[in-house]
């Protein structure tokens, strides 16, 4: 009679993992994949100021997944998106990634908004061999050194920096200056920018620094003005950039100014600078080819408003749509017998895939997982944001 409790305990221990409500049974033994479902973990900020790079992008991605599900899913499996909030915070991101991988047992991850959070979460994700398609984090450390299962559809900081210099020269600038923040975010862009200068054997005519909290950019503007540059490359957050643009305009300093994707919302920047014509010679990088107002985006505008009634289509939604389009494509290519290794292999050989939203094609290789290399440059003309050029960065 004493044997019975022991047998019961063994039986419970053996059967418990299969009975767990948060660990879905896998038809093929692949976590997160059943006969009728693929579970994808979305990692990013759902709350706080970083929500733009999390929740809004996820909303765009979910619209794509919903549309795919409506037409029967991928090889008969519906995509289920499970979201976890990393609040743009390193420690929270690690916990969120672990929760998605081990508790929700997702098949793959699609996410990564704030670079610091993504960099922190990377070791856990890498260790678990879970495929991760990064949709917004730009720091090169997220994707370099290349990890077998980590790919990015976001423009890497080094690509953006090289494109900024390339664009300045395309505009005929001979004398190029730089104004940058030197925090972790700024350095992730500033260092590759300096390398790009070196590769082109160009020396910046001025190299100024500004703190993210600065409320006055007078010394910076005066020093830049003294250097008389044709173009200024701006590596600043939106708030610091708005302070700088305000002071530059006040002091009549109007060279070509070139921003990056953190300044992608030109209408918001104009509102913050609040001086008419201040952005006349301002260009910035966008990860996507279209502005939300573009008639070509009508379909996505309608769908985003349908699934997320509070949202008004934004560039961030479009980034989600484009990245999710890539995810769906590789899931299709991986076939019915879906495994993480198959998905990794398909991602690694994805070549010239056109989402029609990113400015260029998405191409990965087994050694280069930074798959998006084509920034679009935008300019504000009147009330319209226009694409003025597309630059493909080759390395």
């Amino acid at each position: 009679m004493r044997i019975l409790p022991g047998v019961l305990a063994i039986a419970i221990a053996v059967t418990l993992p299969f009975a767990s409500p948060v660990a879905p049974a896998s038809a093929q033994g692949t976590p997160g994949v059943t006969a009728d479902e693929i579970r994808i973990g979305a990692l990013g900020a759902l709350t706080g100021p970083g929500y733009l790079y999390g929740r809004l992008i996820m909303n765009g991605a979910e619209v794509v997944f919903n549309e795919v599900n409506k037409t029967g899913g991928v090889h008969g499996r519906k995509i289920v998106l499970v979201r976890e909030d990393d609040r743009c915070d390193a420690a929270t991101a690690i916990a969120a990634a672990k929760k998605l991988i081990f508790q929700h047992q997702v098949f793959m991850l699609h996410g990564g908004g704030c670079s610091n959070a993504s960099i922190a979460a990377r070791p856990e994700i890498e260790k678990a061999n879970v495929p991760w398609v990064v949709f917004a984090s730009v720091a090169d450390e997220v994707t370099l050194p290349t990890a077998p299962y980590i790919f990015s559809t976001a423009l890497a900081a080094s690509i953006e920096s090289a494109a900024q210099l390339e664009f300045a020269q395309q505009q005929g600038a001979k004398r190029v200056a730089v104004i940058s923040m030197r925090d972790a975010w700024g350095r992730a862009r500033y260092n590759p920018l300096m390398e790009a200068f070196k590769r082109k054997s160009v020396t910046p005519v001025a190299d100024e620094e500004m703190s993210p909290d600065a409320n006055d950019a007078t010394p910076q503007v005066l020093r830049l003005r003294q250097a008389n540059p044709d173009a200024v490359i701006i590596v600043l957050y939106p708030k610091a950039a708005a302070v700088y643009m305000r002071d530059a305009t006040k002091l009549g300093f109007k060279p070509t100014q070139i921003g990056q994707s953190a300044l992608g919302d030109l209408l918001a920047l104009r509102e913050q600078v609040a001086i008419p014509n201040a952005l006349d010679r301002f260009f910035t990088i966008s990860q996507v080819r279209y502005t939300p107002e573009d008639p070509e985006m009508e379909r996505w505008r309608g769908l985003v408003e349908k699934y997320f009634p509070g949202d008004r289509l934004s560039v961030y939604n479009l980034m989600g749509v484009a990245s999710a389009t890539v995810v769906v494509e590789v899931l299709k290519r991986a076939g019915k017998d879906l495994t993480r290794d198959r998905l990794r292999d398909e991602l690694a050989k994805l070549k010239d895939f056109n989402t029609n939203i990113y400015p260029g094609v998405i191409s990965c290789t087994p050694t280069d997982h930074q798959c998006h290399k084509t920034p679009a440059f935008m300019q504000l003309t009147g009330d319209k944001v226009k694409t003025v050029g597309v630059t493909t960065v080759t390395r």
Binding site: Y51, A214, E271, A274
Partner: protein, 291 residues
């Protein structure tokens, strides 16, 4: 470059000075450093944003309304965060002030900037910069500088020429003696907090057209104001003014002539040197030790 750096430095410095004065006046009366002062400044800015941008009131009317509202907020702060702990150890008062600062920041984020937005405040003067040879004058900055000087003048006049100001000084000098002389010390304390908040709000309204209003704007300003007060000799109002102007000037000149990377750290380097040479700051009372 020099004249503009000086004017710009004095403008920024005048705002540091105004914030520092609010910090010092509370410290003088209550011996408490109000760590919520930066957030009172921030709320003042948001109140002005509400009156001027959202409700379309005139700039001067918005400034006055924001100052009055901040005055009331100062009274509330004193009632919630200071008075119940008046006899508690100093650390409790500091913690209460820090806690209250978080409450104010959270409330501002909830009401005005829930998504971390920073609000642009339209310039008061739309006139473009005037260039006279190598000298550039930005009318907006001159207006702010003049406004800050007027506020400082009014504040000083209040302290030196009004009955309430003299009661405040008496309480700051010796609270027990003030009580014996019939001054209602608790009321004076409350008024001190209100006056401190009002100067912070005035500084915020003056600063808003030069920059932005956002929930985190108070913390960096508090650090600069604190540094100004320390440089002046914590507890001295003229010292706070001189400290504020000095920090504004040093930041701009170091940023302009050395490198922009020195903008933020230069003032603190100078403070370190000054405090090594003269630990009580410009106008702080000399520490006397009886042997």
């Amino acid at each position: 470059m020099l004249p503009y750096l000086v004017v710009s430095g004095l403008t920024t410095g005048s705002l540091y000075a105004l914030v520092a004065m609010g910090l010092v006046v509370v410290y003088k009366a209550t011996s408490v450093v109000n760590f919520a002062h930066g957030e009172l400044f921030m709320v003042g800015g948001f109140l002005a944003y509400t009156f001027h941008v959202l409700l379309k009131l005139g700039y001067v009317a918005s400034l006055l309304l924001a100052v009055i509202a901040a005055l009331l907020l100062g009274l509330v702060t004193e009632r919630i965060a200071y008075r119940p702990l008046m006899r508690a150890p100093a650390i409790s008062l500091v913690l209460a002030a820090v806690g209250f600062s978080f409450v104010l920041k959270g409330a501002a984020r909830q009401i005005w900037g829930g998504l971390g937005d920073y609000m642009p405040f339209p310039p008061v003067v739309a006139t473009p910069a005037i260039t006279l040879g190598s000298i550039i004058l930005v009318p907006q900055q001159l207006v702010v500088l003049a406004g800050a000087l007027i506020c400082m003048g009014l504040f000083t006049a209040f302290f030196t020429s009004t009955r309430a100001g003299k009661m405040l000084q008496a309480t700051a000098e010796n609270a027990k003696a003030a009580r014996l002389a019939g001054i209602r010390v608790e009321r004076v304390y409350a008024f001190t907090w209100a006056a401190g908040a009002a100067t912070g709000a005035a500084a915020a309204v003056l600063m808003a057209p030069l920059t932005f209003v956002y929930p985190d704007v108070g913390s960096p300003l508090l650090v600069k104001a604190f540094a100004a007060a320390v440089l002046g000799g914590f507890g001295s109002l003229p010292g706070a003014v001189l400290g504020g102007f000095s920090i504004g000037l040093i930041e701009n000149l170091a940023g302009g002539y050395l490198h922009t990377s020195f903008t933020d750290i230069s003032a603190f380097l100078v403070i370190m040197v000054v405090l090594i040479v003269r630990p009580t700051g410009f106008f702080g009372p000399r520490a006397v030790r009886r042997i």
